[in-house]
């Protein structure tokens, strides 16, 4: 308990006012860009069809809420006050990362618990067979997520806010480059199951997207697990990167 109390006090001493500094205007940019991206993905690619057709629970990407929370907290934890505490940089970095990853883990576990409960209850009450009897041209195999989709959603809950830790520590050109790479990766990862895996399966990406939930297709495609592995590796890489950048940033200069 003492450790968690120290983490709380460490967070309390960070400078909340740092969020109001001019450099953090970019946060508004992130909010707008990311929300636009999410809305585009939801409304533009099948989701609207799915909502009208078979998708019972929309696969809305709520990881962006975690992203913004972690971004704000991460910026706060760069507060100058924390560099005055009588801690060495390794302890300070560990406190920072513990605070951030507790939030990330709590959000991921909570979101997964809600998701799994909802989907599995729906599956129990409205099995796939129920939809098969309806008069529709749409396929129903991927109306519910399987283990692959659950894993990917869980990884996304980790990797997206972990990116926020990295981006909150970048400045200038590196920040711009990092932001562009981040948005491109979000788009690629959102399209990948349908444009790559689904096409590889010979079913035609667009057809599958229009049918139902794109992400859930990875549970019925032969190479769907590849997507899970890629996402897992990416998650590990980004988490390691976020740890490395915090330690690097907190390391005292040779001055």
């Amino acid at each position: 308990m003492a450790y968690f109390a120290k983490l709380k006090y460490f967070r309390q001493l960070s400078d909340g006012a740092s969020l109001n500094k001019p450099g953090n205007n970019r946060l508004i940019g992130y909010c707008v860009a990311y929300v636009v991206l999410i809305v585009h993905l939801i409304t533009g690619i099948g989701e609207s069809q799915a909502v009208l057709g078979y998708s019972i629970y929309s696969n809305t990407d709520i990881s962006f809420i975690s992203y913004f929370t972690v971004y704000l907290l991460s910026v706060t934890l760069t507060a100058p006050r924390l560099k005055e505490l009588p801690l060495n940089y390794k302890t300070r970095s560990r406190y920072i990362l513990a605070n951030l990853y507790i939030v990330i883990a709590a959000f991921a576990i909570l979101a997964m618990a809600v998701w799994i409960t909802i989907y599995e209850c729906l599956r129990a009450f409205y099995p796939v067979e129920y939809f098969s009897t309806q008069n529709s041209t749409y396929a129903v195999e991927n109306i519910y997520p399987g283990i692959n989709a659950y894993l990917v959603i869980f990884f996304r809950m980790i990797v997206v806010p972990a990116c926020a830790i990295i981006l909150s520590r970048l400045r200038g050109k590196k920040l711009w480059l990092g932001s562009i790479v981040f948005v491109i990766c979000v788009i690629i990862l959102a399209y990948m199951p349908v444009l790559v895996l689904d096409s590889m399966a010979g079913r035609g990406g667009i057809y599958q997207v229009a049918n139902s939930n794109a992400l859930f297709a990875i549970d019925i495609l032969p190479l769907g697990w590849v997507y899970v592995v890629v996402y897992a590796l990416l998650t590990v890489a980004v988490v390691v990167g976020s740890i490395a950048i915090v330690f690097k940033n907190e390391h005292p200069s040779e001055l």
């Binding site: 006090y9 309390q12 100058p80 009588p86 801690l87 940089y89 001055l255």
Partner: protein, 278 residues
């Protein structure tokens, strides 16, 4: 022994820079840092507190920061020009946080000083006036039991009665001969009371670094009705007013109609700044 040894310090912002600065802050003394707005005082303090990237070297009590990080940080406390902690908490919450993270935090002293300065501990910090927030910052810094206390404009915004109390607290702090204060201020009246050394900055450079007694003994403030060529040759920072001219000088001047007196730190600062600006 110096509390701080700054060598070849360079901080470059493009439009403003501190270049190759060398400065020693004597241990057991109060050093007043004066300069106009934008002279580089806050930049220097932020650099000393490792919050500003820079080149050069700073030794803390003869030690390098990278090798003695925790030791140096536990012996140093700083009051910046704005509070460096969340304002959206009550003082008692902040007290617990500082007590948990600073092993030498003096809780009894904290309670006594909060009572003395009328700072209720069950009130949120953002409900206090700027002056009260500054007093709280000073109390927190003192309660960390530091050996080196760095203050950036600590008394600005504080009413005269409390300012006198704060200066008195700093004088008490200096009763321990191992304690050191680096004190940046515009209120040079405070420096007249407690400073042992004066460092004057202008445009990122040190104009003057002298002990206060030598400084005030060296210069004289001169008032004269007419400027002669002899006076012009020795005058520093000449100002014209309705009655004639005033300036400071480090050379002896005598003559009819010439009035001299010992200048205050503020007068030395004003005339030297005037001189350096041409």
């Amino acid at each position: 022994m110096n509390a701080l040894e700054i060598r070849n310090l360079t901080v470059d912002f493009g439009d403003f820079a501190i270049r190759d600065m060398n400065l020693d802050i004597k241990r057991g003394a109060v050093t007043g840092l004066v300069g106009r707005n934008g002279a580089g005082k806050s930049t220097l303090i932020k650099t000393i507190m490792r919050q500003q990237p820079a080149m050069g070297s700073i030794l803390y009590d003869g030690k390098r920061f990278a090798e003695h990080e925790v030791e140096i940080l536990s012996q140093t406390a700083c009051v910046f020009d704005s509070p460096h902690f969340s304002l959206n908490v009550k003082i008692k919450v902040l007290k617990r946080a500082f007590a948990a993270l600073y092993p030498k935090f003096n809780l009894q002293m904290f309670d006594e000083l909060c009572a003395k300065f009328n700072l209720p501990q069950d009130k949120k910090i953002n409900k206090f006036s700027i002056g009260m927030q500054r007093k709280l910052c000073i109390i927190i810094a003192l309660c960390q039991s530091p050996e080196l206390l760095i203050l950036d404009e600590p008394t600005s915004g504080i009413d005269p009665v409390d300012r006198a109390e704060v200066v008195s607290l700093l004088q008490q702090f200096m009763l321990d001969e191992n304690h050191t204060i680096l004190f940046s201020t515009h209120i040079t009246e405070d420096l007249d009371k407690i400073a042992d050394y004066i460092v004057m900055m202008e445009n990122g450079k040190i104009l003057l670094d002298e002990d206060k007694i030598t400084l005030t003994e060296r210069y004289r403030l001169v008032s004269v009705g007419q400027m002669t060529d002899e006076l012009k040759a020795v005058a520093i920072g000449v100002k014209e007013n309705a009655f004639g001219y005033t300036f400071i000088t480090d050379k002896p001047v005598e003559g009819e109609g010439i009035v001299t007196k010992v200048p205050t730190v503020e007068e030395i600062f004003v005339y030297l700044s005037n001189y350096s600006l041409g």
